[in-house]
């Protein structure tokens, strides 16, 4: 009985220590709320601008044949997706911040995250036209796989150059930070609109 109690106590102690260590790790590695918010501004802007442009391109066709409430419904689903994507990217960067060594990512969380995201955003865009690429290379998947590998290899190389450059060029960090301040009002507008559209979505879908 006593042996069991001692074992239980030891286990409990170990669990507490682990929990404390984890909390400490999160405290050290997780960025502050301000930093996370700044990165959200960077992530939200290109994703939202792109989604809005695509929606507005199709909108005249919708207005031609649908009620405004239905058009708002379509917009709501689109904005919900962009909101979700923004959140997914943020979670991804938080994960990197926790898992990578502190001085490697945490220290420059906002400028590094911003730079990586912008680079990744433009890197992914060509993949939306993958069928045209496949058609050009005669649907040869072996060549396609090599192209993809080369494309992301180049991305990794460029990302490394940028990230190293970032540490050596404090003016670049300053430029990124001042850019974030400039885009913040626009990003906030997009995110606020997201919330309104999510409300519309809830009414439509659940109503």
């Amino acid at each position: 009985m006593r042996a069991n109690f001692t074992r239980w106590k030891a286990t409990r102690l170990l669990a507490d220590k682990l929990q404390f260590a984890l909390m400490e790790l999160l405290r050290q590695r997780l960025p502050s709320r301000q930093e996370a918010a700044a990165l959200i501004m960077v992530i939200a802007l290109p994703i939202h601008i792109r989604a809005w442009l695509i929606f507005l391109h199709e909108a005249p066709g919708y207005i031609l044949r649908m009620t405004l409430w239905d058009v708002a419904g379509i917009c709501a689903y689109v904005q919900f997706t962009t909101f979700l994507e923004t959140a997914i990217f943020l979670v991804g960067f938080l994960f990197l911040s926790i898992t990578l060594p502190e001085k490697f990512f945490r220290t420059y969380f906002v400028p590094q995250g911003s730079l990586l995201f912008i680079l990744f955003f433009f890197w992914l865009l060509p993949f939306h036209n993958q069928y045209q690429v496949l058609a050009r290379i005669g649907w040869d998947l072996t060549i396609y796989a090599k192209l993809v590998a080369a494309w992301f290899g180049l991305f990794a190389l460029l990302a490394a150059v940028f990230l190293i450059g970032l540490r050596r060029l404090p003016r670049l960090v300053g430029f990124i930070q001042s850019s974030i301040r400039r885009i913040t009002p626009l990003s906030i507008t997009y995110l606020a609109a997201d919330l309104i559209f999510i409300l519309i979505l809830a009414v439509r879908y659940l109503g």
Partner: protein
Amino acid sequence: MKLSRRDFLKLSSLLPLALLPGADVGSRGYRAPLGTPNILILVFDALSAKNMSLYGYPRPNTPNLSRAAEKGTVFHQHFAGGNFTIPGTASLLTGAYPWSHRAFHMYGETTTAFQTRNIFELFRETHRTFAYSHNPFVNVLLQQFQHGIRDYLGPAGLELFTASLADRSGRDFTALSQAEYLVLWKEDGPASFLLSRLFRTWRLREEARLGREYAEEFPVGVPNSIISYYTLEDAMDWIKTQVTGQGEPFMGYVHLLPPHFPYTPRQDFLGKFTDGWNPSPKPESAFSERRDEVFLGQQRRQYDEFIAYCDAEFGRLYDDLEKAGALDNTILVLTSDHGEMFERGLWAHSNPTLYEPLLRVPLVIWTPGGQAGHITQPTSCTDLLPSLLAAAGMPAPPWVEGQNFFDAVPLRASRAIYSMELSRNAKTAPLAKGSFAIIRDGFKLTRYTGYEGIETFSELYDLNDDPEERANLFPASPAILHSLGEELDDNIAAADHRMAQ
């Protein structure tokens, strides 16, 4: 009459039946008189009468239908209300032309007035109404008419696999399916930046899995609507379950996507028509997509093989229903929402033209104890609703624009029939952009107006002497032109007036 105690007890044992719900309308639960026939409407999407051996097409692609048609009534000049799914189907279901119901865009719905002006609403009180469609555009309409459909299977009902979230959820279908296209499917760049990539990877993997699973049966691919996959076999088996033992009388509407593109016939129909036959080329259309004759010939052959697959499955269904005695009290209707074309530099049906291959659809009706017959007068898809209502002993409501072809009064040969393509016209705006066809007295006048870069022009064909529409008579025959043109203008003006009210 004096009741004995024993008689009273016997009768009182039946008393609980009277308390059952619907017992006042017979034990069936519907207010139709006993003997009211069931109705089953089968629509094969994009089935052109011009490509069916039943109607004289040289390739023997509908032997089963031809055999079954010997016991039914074949309509030889039946016209669709439009040249693609939404207007064609909406006209079929409402008995009104697209200029009235206004469902003439991709994913378009009718005006709200037609939410209660459709076949399901009209039969809801008297029949068990059920519906299913493979086609997502038809599901937009079925969702809109859902109030009148007692058993709506929903878009995902018979699908082997669907990549569509709208199909899977079945809620807020119109907006969700449009948004889904925009966010995930759009080929030249979907609105979703990341999720669309993950979605596409998942979809390709699932499609490949399905392809492998059915590789033997469907070597060129499982029948699909690009976003969802199904087989006709499953649909036919489901129809049998609905027709037998689910409650009568019923009114069922089943919209099957084959032989719509992509043409993916079952293995036993592949290569069935490698005869090299091609019809002689027709004059190029003003809307030509410059499709060459070799391409059109290949597509036509695959389409014909797909029709043969549809025919075989229809034959199987027909035989099974006949054997089960289900046709003894059922009106069976086979038709289509629009046709398909392989001529004039145009392929399929996504174009503004209203040539015969796009408008002429099959209509065969089997009535209980009915005799074989042939109707050669022109009929419209808007005629089906009033005709079925009449067969069920119900009057046609005033908004129906078609005419009962079961009527003892013969169909007037001089009656005008219309078809139109209005996808460029705003839903409720005056009708100024589109294609309009009027068919009367054997002539067909088609007017194309409001197309960017193309001046308004008309074509006139004598369908009796020139059923293939090779010789455009415009601007000859001014008397006919004037008469048809005036009637068309009057009706367009009347439709605009109704819309404005």
